[in-house]
């Protein structure tokens, strides 16, 4: 019998499978990967009563156009996303953070993320995906993930594990997409390599996000950082959010698919609670960096968790 599945009528720009990522693998040279915007990914699964770490489709800018060829499923889209559903009843414009039932033949058209980059599509019960080192996250460059890590392609068949059994739909109302301009930074291991004057500029003048930004890193342009000691160090472990500064003085913020180790000095690191917002900033946007203390960063993280909990408690049945 044919399994429940979507057929890909348009893959979108950068559509991959993601979950929370891989753990205890980085010593093998394998990046943790995982959903760029963890919060949006998590809420998608919670809205569908899925296991928290169920693999979802992550898309950037333009998402896929999918046709449900077989089965009946419940879906949700999270992120600031414009999408439509075409069914025998006609066409509707969908709301993110609200579940919808799809029937055989329906199409889901994820047209664009609005003033942001990443969005997520999750289905009730999850997609049928093979895990590698405990995760379904795709890393196309290393051929790791479902379908040898390939991005989702035209005509792919995306299998869905089960038919929908949940009758009611759910929604989180009042999700706010507030613009964020200032990102908090903790000093990095080579903070002292950089001149005081250039650090002052780093923490007071704007930086523009360039188009050379992907799941691996975000290049920003602004006042360059002056290195007084050495622009090469013996390679050391990297974690996401680290701001490395190569010899040209232009910072690169390392994101989820970062190389596992790196030999450039790091001026700082974006605090964890600002990461989801950072990666949602479009190219050409101007952002600022501010230096904070560890205590402040830890407090912000507690607030970040609190806000997620609040969103979860605001889930309503409709």
């Amino acid at each position: 019998m044919e399994q429940n599945h979507f057929e890909v009528l348009r893959p979108g720009i950068n559509s991959t499978f993601q979950d929370k990522g891989r753990f205890n693998v980085q010593y093998m040279g394998l990046a943790p990967g995982g959903a760029m915007d963890y919060q949006s990914f998590l809420l998608a699964n919670i809205l569908l009563d899925n296991d928290k770490n169920t693999g979802a489709i992550e898309f950037a800018y333009q998402g896929p156009l999918l046709k449900l060829v077989k089965g009946k499923t419940k879906i949700v889209i999270t992120g600031n996303v414009f999408f439509k559903i075409y069914s025998s009843n006609g066409e509707i414009i969908g709301d993110p953070y609200r579940t919808y039932d799809l029937n055989e033949g329906d199409q889901l058209d994820i047209l664009a993320t609005k003033a942001s980059v990443y969005g997520y599509l999750s289905v009730e019960g999850g997609f049928k995906l093979d895990k590698f080192c405990g995760s379904v996250s795709s890393q196309p460059r290393a051929f790791i993930g479902p379908n040898e890590g390939k991005k989702i392609e035209f005509k792919d068949k995306i299998l869905i594990l089960k038919n929908s059994t949940i009758k009611k739909n759910k929604i989180i109302r009042d999700i706010k997409f507030e613009p964020k301009k200032i990102f908090s930074v903790l000093p990095g291991p080579q903070f002292h390599y950089f001149s005081t004057t250039s650090k002052k500029k780093f923490f007071s003048t704007p930086y523009m996000i360039t188009k050379q930004t992907d799941r691996m890193g975000m290049r920003v342009i602004g006042a360059s950082l002056e290195n007084l000691i050495n622009s090469n160090i013996p390679s050391e472990g990297i974690i996401k959010g680290a701001i490395q500064v190569p010899g040209d003085g232009n910072p690169i913020i390392l994101l989820s698919d970062h190389p596992t180790t790196g030999g450039y000095p790091k001026v700082g690191s974006i605090i964890s609670s600002d990461y989801d917002d950072l990666i949602q900033q479009n190219a050409n946007k101007e952002i600022f960096f501010q230096l904070v203390t560890l205590e402040a960063a830890e407090q912000q993280f507690a607030l970040y968790l609190e806000k997620i909990k609040k969103k979860i408690s605001n889930i309503e049945e409709i």
Binding site: F23, P32, P234, G237, I239, T260, T261, S272
Partner: protein, 225 residues
């Protein structure tokens, strides 16, 4: 031993074993890595995402919801690294390498800069027992040392846009193998067909571990699979 432990994020710390790069220091890093990995596997340290050993540093990335840097630092500082024993056993490997000109893209140039013949370079490389300092940059990619002083060399002036898979290359006192097609600026002296990272092996995809030892064994082009 550990000179200091500092935060590199609210969810990450770095244990600093000093500035020098040598095997003795790296062995300390690796024994602490193996010890913490075991503790984390047994859930005796909570919320560890990743532990990343490098030449002379050890980074611990953790979940701030389950642990914090204060507790982790205190725990790590209480460990007597000299007395650590783990069940982790390091392995010795023999890696086949073909030094034919068509693979050894920089061997000819090295004969000039190092003022050695091809045979001397090859034989010196073959004689060395390499030690895996770390795996990093990309899956399975080993950083091995130390080369014989005669072979110390700088990186290429302009890196190659694409280095063939399996290229064995040297720079400074280190030797690497490129497991994937990638850009690279090291001096290529040969090619191996050994698979350093096997995605079909779901439990143990990475062939080498930090601390393993490696000797190269010369093969003919026909033996290169």
């Amino acid at each position: 031993m550990i000179k200091k432990i500092t935060n590199i994020s609210d969810q990450g710390i770095i244990c600093d074993f000093g500035e020098e790069v040598n095997k003795d220091i790296n062995k300390k890093v690796i024994s602490l890595f193996n010890y913490l990995k075991e503790k984390s596997n047994k859930d005796e340290i909570k919320g560890v995402y990743n532990i990343i050993p490098s030449y002379n540093k050890l980074v611990v990335h953790f979940d701030l919801e389950k642990n914090n840097s204060h507790k982790l630092k205190e725990f790590i500082l209480s460990i007597d690294i000299k007395k650590l024993t783990t069940s982790q056993k390091n392995k010795s490997w023999t890696v086949p390498i073909c030094y034919d000109d068509e693979f050894a893209l920089d061997l000819e140039n090295l004969t000039k800069s190092l003022k050695l013949s091809k045979e001397e370079i090859v034989n010196t490389h073959l004689k060395t027992e390499f030690y895996v300092y770390m795996i990093g940059f990309m899956p399975g990619h080993p950083y091995m040392g130390d080369l014989d002083k005669k072979l110390f060399t700088s990186r290429l002036q302009s890196p190659r846009i694409q280095v063939p898979i399996g290229s064995v290359a040297i720079a400074e006192k280190f030797c690497i193998v490129y497991p994937y097609l990638s850009p690279g600026g090291w001096n290529i002296i040969g090619r191996t067909s050994i698979k350093l990272f096997d995605t079909k092996n779901l439990t143990n995809p990475c062939l080498f571990s930090p601390g393993d030892t490696i000797k190269f064994e010369k093969i003919n082009k026909s033996e290169l699979k």
